[in-house]
Symmetry: C2
Subunit: 425 residues, 2 copies
Amino acid sequence: MTMNFKGKPSRRAFLKGAVAAGGTMASASVATAAGDPLITEMQDWASGLGDGVDETPYGLPISYESDVVRRNVEWLTADTISSINFTPIHALDGTITPQGCAFERHHSGAIDMKKGDYRLMINGLVDTPLVFTYEDLERFPRENRVYFCECAANTGMEWAGAQLNGAQFTHGMIHNMEYSGIPLRTLLEEAGLDAAGDLKDKWVYVEGADASSNGRSIPMEKALDDVLVAFKANGEALRKEHGYPVRLVVPGWEGNMWIKWLRRIEVTDQAVESREETSKYTDTLEDGTSRKWTWVMDAKSIVTSPSPQAPIKHGHGPLVITGLAWSGRGAITGVDVSVDGGKNWQPARLGAPGVDKALTRFYLDYNWQGEEMFLQARAKDSTGYVQPTKTELRETRGENSIYHNNCIQTWWVKSDGEAENVEVS
Amino acid sequence: MTMNFKGKPSRRAFLKGAVAAGGTMASASVATAAGDPLITEMQDWASGLGDGVDETPYGLPISYESDVVRRNVEWLTADTISSINFTPIHALDGTITPQGCAFERHHSGAIDMKKGDYRLMINGLVDTPLVFTYEDLERFPRENRVYFCECAANTGMEWAGAQLNGAQFTHGMIHNMEYSGIPLRTLLEEAGLDAAGDLKDKWVYVEGADASSNGRSIPMEKALDDVLVAFKANGEALRKEHGYPVRLVVPGWEGNMWIKWLRRIEVTDQAVESREETSKYTDTLEDGTSRKWTWVMDAKSIVTSPSPQAPIKHGHGPLVITGLAWSGRGAITGVDVSVDGGKNWQPARLGAPGVDKALTRFYLDYNWQGEEMFLQARAKDSTGYVQPTKTELRETRGENSIYHNNCIQTWWVKSDGEAENVEVS
């Protein structure tokens, strides 16, 4: 068999056994590329009629894909009201995450609010405090941008060693959608910032309408930069569980700051130091002190397939190794893949050039001959930052952290194609 | 009131009546920007708990958005099995179309096929005829690209004058998704094209596994250019109604060629001249002769809001005029908007730079004082082509056509904010 991995397969026999009887495809002796018998009898679907266009006003995934769903892990939290479910990244391709399978994280459950009941207050150090209805928001100039949203706790269980078996569970607290919304800057300027004086040391405090309120402090510099008050994701209204009707989008920063059911924005002269930024969402170091204001999600990557939930089921030969990479500091400029636990690296092909603070898909077209692999991916971003190993990260941060684990992940792919979450030293 | 439409609203009073009592937001006398009373009592959603993360394995739109769905028009076709439903473009924003509300068009209904039953044959003038299973296809190098898919008949009813009242029905046979798939070139080269000789005058004939088979001829030059054999859209498996598990993606060309449930690709030395490219999908001109091989979808645009299904419900002052533009020949380079039926034009703001053969969102932030408007949009693409008026199109093509109506559309927006589909001369 000949293989050519320069983006173009060799003409013949790219797949092992990809030989069919010359020219007589209707013959019962013809085999498929994988060696399965050819289906020669007329099938139901080719002779009968299918569903009409009135049967699916809103289309759902076909029943055969019912395993491609968000999943929660029962033992992870005391109650599903204050919990997480995970995006099935092991089964997705491309970069866009459909809303229906984009992870959820709530602190007091997903609330039910009508657009007519929605209000957004801007108060504090502004010239004119304002309250906006949903309809008001629809009248301001809008932007569209694709951004990833990652929970600070994504991959958090891995601080203690290889724990959860599957990319969905180790890295699935992430999604990537096209948001339509209003720059927060526009709304702050509408209320007027003269009263705030020098903006350099000012903050906004943002909170949601749910029982947790989930308040967070954001430095004014970020608030005036790229933060959006968003009402649509992937073209549609936000799902209830993503903050319908309005959420905050804080590009590149931890998901906890992307306030859902956004109800209030207060301009303040200091950070509020809320529960969500003191006892939670801070990083305890080796010496017992904690880092705070660790907002940015550092560059990270993960091989989504093959992986524990997506083992290799076909034979030896061509194998598509694929995954996702992202950085809260800029665009992904490259991803390297290792099959030997980080000893040797080869550059992966990016599905498209990296987009600022959005997911990037990578591929490595690989010739697998059944050998055991220790699969890793390593992301680089436009600031020059390179994703660290687990050892490197622990040396700097200790092992007391929960959040901001962006270390290189390892999947042990065995000769039977099954994969397992492991640590390599 | 001061207005500033250079992308940044004036500091205060952008919205008419946007004045709240200075600083005391908790006061019952505080009004919202639109003049509604402020909600001051504690709401249920702020004191109770919401849904847990185990309640929505696959998330659906919230019930309040149940009108944002595909719709068919009963009188348009004799049977819903061979019919159309339309994307609710009047209610969407951004550019990505979620699969769940992306239009459908079938000739014999949406069929039900398992991945395990899927086979794709490549035969005809190839060195080695091949049959691929779904698993085989997963092993070839993949690409990700965002493309629009538009039915050739989109806007077809408008040849006869203003007919259907709503952007969903006049322009909703379009969707825009991120596809993951294999370049068709890769699979053709796998089968080997030496046997085909000079490729310049060769074709591929592609057909689906449904009862209609919907066979179409594609020139080899296009087949080897950007055509994809796709299995995912917006990251997920294709919906049943979009051709699960595999469809053809023929960028920029009419949707009828994007074969769903793709079962066979035959390399031929001439076009097949099938039903779908002779009695259908040809354009009858004034003199009774027909244009054929009119594959490319020319540049087009539509104001999606305000529009008949999305009237202006708020008062005078700031109004976001928005819509979509696209071209099968390249990227959108600009969109102009007219409020006076095409006498005067002003450039709209593009939501993002135009992407080759993909939807582009445009916005015009407008100060509406209740005047009657004849709203139009006009797209320009990277080839220099400018979208024609209905009059210009009829002068060239007559009025016998069904397909490829890409003329400028007019919405008559009345002083009460309601809108209607009209023709202006």
